[in-house]
Assembly symmetry: C2
Homo-oligomer: 144 residues x 2
């Protein structure tokens, strides 16, 4: 195959990625979930393991530290999480999912799972496995 014929994957990936976010965001709005899709990722990670510090959390959700700082700022304002000083290392904060945050998660999680499923209604389990494998292979090939 020629090089030129490979030239559209980044476009397809980018626009599909954007549409997935748009779709989820639109549903969030319809359901009056007052968060963005990226904020959701943070809450979900904390719901699985609470009180991570920011670096761990950034690693978990694959965002960099400055971006995470701002997402945490926004979630703090909404009182869904709070920063807690770690006495043993005063450089760190642990991010704590509050009771309000936990309550919202219980309310939102099943609906988010529904929303996420929509993308797969015309695809098979094998497609899902293939997509994961292909994306991970690309990710590793472009190690930076």
């Amino acid at each position: 195959m020629t090089k030129e014929s490979f030239n559209t994957y980044s476009y397809l990936l980018d626009r599909t990625n954007r549409r997935i976010k748009q779709f989820a965001q639109k549903k969030f709005k319809e359901e009056s979930f007052d968060i963005t899709v990226d904020q959701w990722l943070v809450l979900k990670s904390l719901n699985q393991e609470n009180d991570q510090n920011q670096s761990e959390l950034a690693e978990q959700i694959g965002k960099d530290n400055p971006t995470l700082t701002r997402i945490i700022d926004l979630l703090c304002k909404k009182e869904l999480v709070e920063r807690r000083q770690l006495p043993s290392d005063r450089r760190c904060f642990t991010i704590h999912l509050t009771d309000k945050g936990k309550q919202k998660m219980e309310e939102w999680a099943p609906k988010v799972a529904e929303i996420r499923m929509k993308a797969w209604e015309n695809l098979t389990e094998k497609d899902y496995e293939d997509l994961k494998r292909i994306l991970n292979t690309i990710y590793q090939s472009l190690e930076i």
Copy 2:
């Protein structure tokens, strides 16, 4: 398969998409291409068909109009493109790839093709076809 097992694709897609951009942007920097990846998309589209108006161009590269307006602003500053008033419809500009822009494209295009190929070095042609099919299916399933 349970709903829960489908819950990571958006994360994988997002991080792979980000890495593809990061990788290309890093190479652009190394080669002293003084543009961003998104600006490249615009130039590439104009190189294939010059003098599109902004709406056509936005459609071509899958971005919305406000985003494109700002990308065009930046490309104008670099004198790679220029806005030309269309006398027949004074609402429109056609975006013209300048001589300087064309010259840069000749210089850059082969190297960008190389950079783009890197993602596929551990994958097959069938993987490429599968990825395209899966992404397009998702895109269409989430019609908004």
